[in-house]
Every structure is written in structure tokens, then in C-alpha cells.
């Protein structure tokens, strides 16, 4: 049922967000209306400001507000180590551990021919160029891709395209800290048993 033209328009736009269906969009729209003009102004200006300022880092394709992100431009970081991740948000998660001092490369997706995600649609070639160039400082690659078919295939492909001897590793797989054995799926448990130390 149509509400008012302006609310309908907002609902229409909100529905384009991931995970937001018609009912949810309606609830959000009414919420925004009830919050009043100040909230609406703050929300819309935040959205516009974000879209004007945030861009992909020209080196690692992570997200930042300058041409090169803070991590890539930081000379104190170890530029011989590159951590390859799927999404920009993965960078923040790994940074939060405080255990990694190298730089990143964001692929913005994984190889999946079934979903028409091919080499050209992902940020793979710039990574390979970054590694293969004659003056490349890169000596080590750490793959932090999700442990599933698409992640494994992407890793195998990138390894094939690398033409220099490098130290290559991937994140260990196993049991999360502090969890109960009974809650672990059998595939993970089987892998953890086989790779026990």
C-alpha cells in the first residue's frame, strides 16, 4: 500500500540495501521520519560526505580517504610482506589483532566462474604486477582468504601467476579459541586432528 510519495521514494531506495526487504525498509523509513529533521540531515550528509571522500587505495585497493591508504604510505610497515584478503573489511579485522606489520592487497572478490567472477573483474592482475615487477620489494605473501572452494582456487591461481621465488603461506585452519569441541563442525575438527601439533 503506498504511503506518501516521499516515504515511498525513501522505502524504494532503502530496499536496494543488502538484507533489507519491503517490510524492513518501511520500518526504517518510518523510524527516520519520527526521528525528525536533524537526524535526517545528519544521516544524509554523512552518506553524501562518505561517497565523496572514501575511495579505493591506488596501491592495495583497500578503502581510505586519500589516494594511498595509511597502511601503504606508512614507511614503518614491512613492505616486503603482503597479506592478500578478499574484502576491504578483512583488513580492519586483521589490523585489530595487532599481530601483522606488513601491507595488504584487497582482491575485492574471489574467482568464481559460476557467478561470472573472472580474473578481469577482480583486483588480481595489479597484485601480480606488484609482485612480478623488477623493483618489487615483496618477499613474502600471506593468503588470508576464506577456506572454501573459491578462496582455495583464487590462491592456487595467484601462486601460478607469480614468477619470482617468494615465501608463501596461508592462515592456519582449526578450532577457534575458547570454544567447546562439541560445537565444532566435523570437517573443521577432522582438519584440526590431521594437522595437530
Amino acid at each position: 500500500m503506498p504511503l506518501t510519495p516521499s516515504l515511498d521514494r525513501l522505502i524504494h531506495e532503502l530496499q536496494k540495501l543488502p538484507g533489507v526487504g519491503p517490510k524492513n525498509a518501511q520500518r526504517l523509513a518510518i523510524f527516520i521520519f519520527k526521528k525528525g529533521a536533524d537526524f535526517s540531515r545528519a544521516l544524509s550528509s554523512a552518506v553524501i560526505e562518505m561517497s565523496q571522500n572514501v575511495k579505493y587505495c591506488s596501491s592495495c585497493a583497500g578503502i581510505c580517504e586519500s589516494d594511498i591508504c595509511d597502511i601503504c604510505s606508512n614507511s614503518l610497515r614491512d613492505h616486503s610482506k603482503v597479506c592478500v584478503v578478499e574484502k576491504p573489511t578483512d583488513v580492519f579485522h586483521i589490523e585489530a589483532t595487532g599481530q601483522y606489520n606488513g601491507v595488504y592487497h584487497v582482491l575485492n572478490g574471489l574467482i568464481s566462474p559460476l557467478e561470472y567472477l573472472t580474473i578481469d573483474k577482480l583486483n588480481i592482475k595489479p597484485l601480480v604486477a606488484r609482485i612480478n615487477s623488477a623493483d618489487s620489494p615483496v618477499r613474502e605473501i600471506v593468503f588470508a582468504l576464506p577456506p572454501k572452494v573459491e578462496g582455495d582456487a583464487t590462491m592456487a591461481l595467484i601462486k601460478k601467476m607469480i614468477q619470482r621465488p617468494l615465501k608463501i603461506s596461508k592462515l592456519a585452519q582449526g578450532i577457534p579459541t575458547g570454544c567447546e569441541i562439541e560445537h565444532i563442525d566435523s570437517m573443521t575438527l577432522a582438519r584440526a586432528l590431521n594437522n595437530r601439533n
Partner: protein
Amino acid sequence: MCLEIALSPGINLFYGMNGQGKTNILESVEILSTTRSDRAFKEAELVNHNEESALVSGRFLKNSLDFDISVNYYKNRKKTCVKNGKNTTADSIFGSVNIVKFFPKDAEIITGAPANRRRYADMEISLTDRAYYTNYKNYIKLIESRNAVLKQMSELQERDFKYGELMDLIESYDELLPDAAYGVYRGRLDFLKEIALYADRTHRSISSNREKLDILYHCSVNENTDKSMNLTENLFKQRLIFLLKKNLKNDIIRKLTTVGPHKDDIEFLINGTPAKNFGSTGQIKTLAVSLKLAQIDYVFNKTGDYPVLLIDDMTSEFDAERLFNIIKSISADMQVLISSTDNEIFKTAFGGQGINYFKVSGGAVVNN
């Protein structure tokens, strides 16, 4: 339209004319176990023409613990699953309840295409072995991805730059395939070995010890002339890598991966002769039943619980005496759902005792 049925722990017989909805009741239990139905090609087919969605809900009691499972199918979107009031994935529901079903189509496991036999083995193993199921799904995804790349390559010239790139991708899949493929191969071999043991025992007793049953696994990777010789892990992987490379040109032309467990077959031998080609109709029916009865032992051995048995329209397949021998041979600990057009023969054979009768008519059910 809504239907609610309370079942008894023993034998539940649904009887009525054809087309009244007896099989639907059995199908709904299958859906709660596997989240899919063998009868529907697409999920949307499970939804009534005039409705937007279809809901199957069940409350189960297993080892004195009860749990609820619901599967909701829609016309235009993916199914959703709920376990104990919480939304969850189809995978986490899959196998919560184990079933063994006797359907008229069972004979197709023996007489039908190889895909029928592979589906039979993969489904039965997956219900009790989660690691196999996960690995199997990965394997199929690898093969489908590889096939999608083969298709792209078939549309290009070898000298194209893109062709070389795609070749790198094929080689990446070929590195990942051996591990996943071996998991499928090993899982099926172990399953068939155990099933053969139980099924041969049952088959001998049904056939008054006249017929010996053997099950052979034909592996497309195994080029030994003696198919009963199984490959070691290393040999299997080596041969698969070799064959993937050797067949690549042909694979590109056919846009399909022509070697691997997805091309394997299972052969049933009665007294050393292939049942598919030389078995009589009676022998094949007996064999199908032996396989299903063996499945009960298999599930019990793996999980410590008896499965729920679904027996669909067996009166049309079997003479009554055989059917009763089968039902009586089934442990009293098992819950059984039977559909039949005839309730009189059951009343005569069981004297009306120990069976819960439901009359099904026009989609409605009356307990009597």
C-alpha cells in the same frame, strides 16, 4: 490448506485411493530429513499453484530429547529453514533425522542411469557423515567451476591471450581436485563395503540362500582391468592428475570434465552376473529391498539410532507375503510410515494390532 498428524511410535499406515495425498505425507518427512524432495525437480514445484509458499513442520523425539524442524518453500525465492524456533541453514538441518525410504522408484538404483546410483550412495553417506557431505559439495563445486571455465575456453582460439589465463585457472582447479575427489572415492568405497556386507546377508535370506550379492565400484580413475582392486591414495591422485591433463583437449571440446568420481558407477552382481542387464524383475526388486534393509543396519551402526522408515505404495510392487515378512523383520524399535491403497491385507495379516490406521481422502486424514 493445512494438515496436522500425530504419529504413533510404531507402524503408521496411510490408506486411501490414488491421488489423495498419501505419498505427500511420506514426502513431508523426507523433506524434514533432507530439506529436499526426490519427487520435485525444482523447489518451487512443492508450492501449490494458488499459493505463495508451502510449510512443512515436524516435532521429533530422539533419545528422549524433542526438537522442531520447519522448512518453508517459496515460489520466487530460496527455501528457509528453522530448527527449534531459530532460523538456520538447510545444511544444519540435513540429517538431524535419519530416514530410509522404500519407494517404487527404488529399482531405478539398479536399472537406471549411473547418476541414480551415485545419488543413492552420496545421499545415504551424507545423512550420517557430515565431513563427507561437506567434501562432496566442495568437489561438485570444483567440477562445476572447472566446467564453466572449459566452456569459456571452447569459445576461444588457443592463441588468444585470454585462453592462456583460463588455462592457468584450469590448472588451479586441477591442483585442488585430487584431495576432494579422493575423499568422495574413499567415502563411497567404505560405504559400499559395509552395505554389501549387510545386503548380501539379507539378500541370501530373502532368496533362500540361492543368490549371492556383490557390489563393485567402477572408478573412472581406476584403469585396472580388475575393478575390485582399489587404488591407494597416492596412486589415485597421481592417476587423476594424469588423466585430467590427458583428457583436457577433449574436455574443452565437450565443455565437461570427463574423469573423476562424478563419472563413476556402481555395479550389482547376483551370483557374479550384472543385475542391471541380466536380473529378472523379481531379482531386481528383491535387490532394491535388500539394499534398503542394509541401509537400516548402516544407519544404526553409524549413529546408534534406528532411522524412520518410509514405505511408499509397496503393495503394488510386492506380493503381500513378502511385504509382511519385510515389515515383521524390521525391528520393533523403529517408527514406520506406510502408504497403501489397501488396508484390508494389513488387517488380515496383523489382525489389526500394532498398526495405527489413517484414512487419507482428498488431502484430509482421519485416524481410525
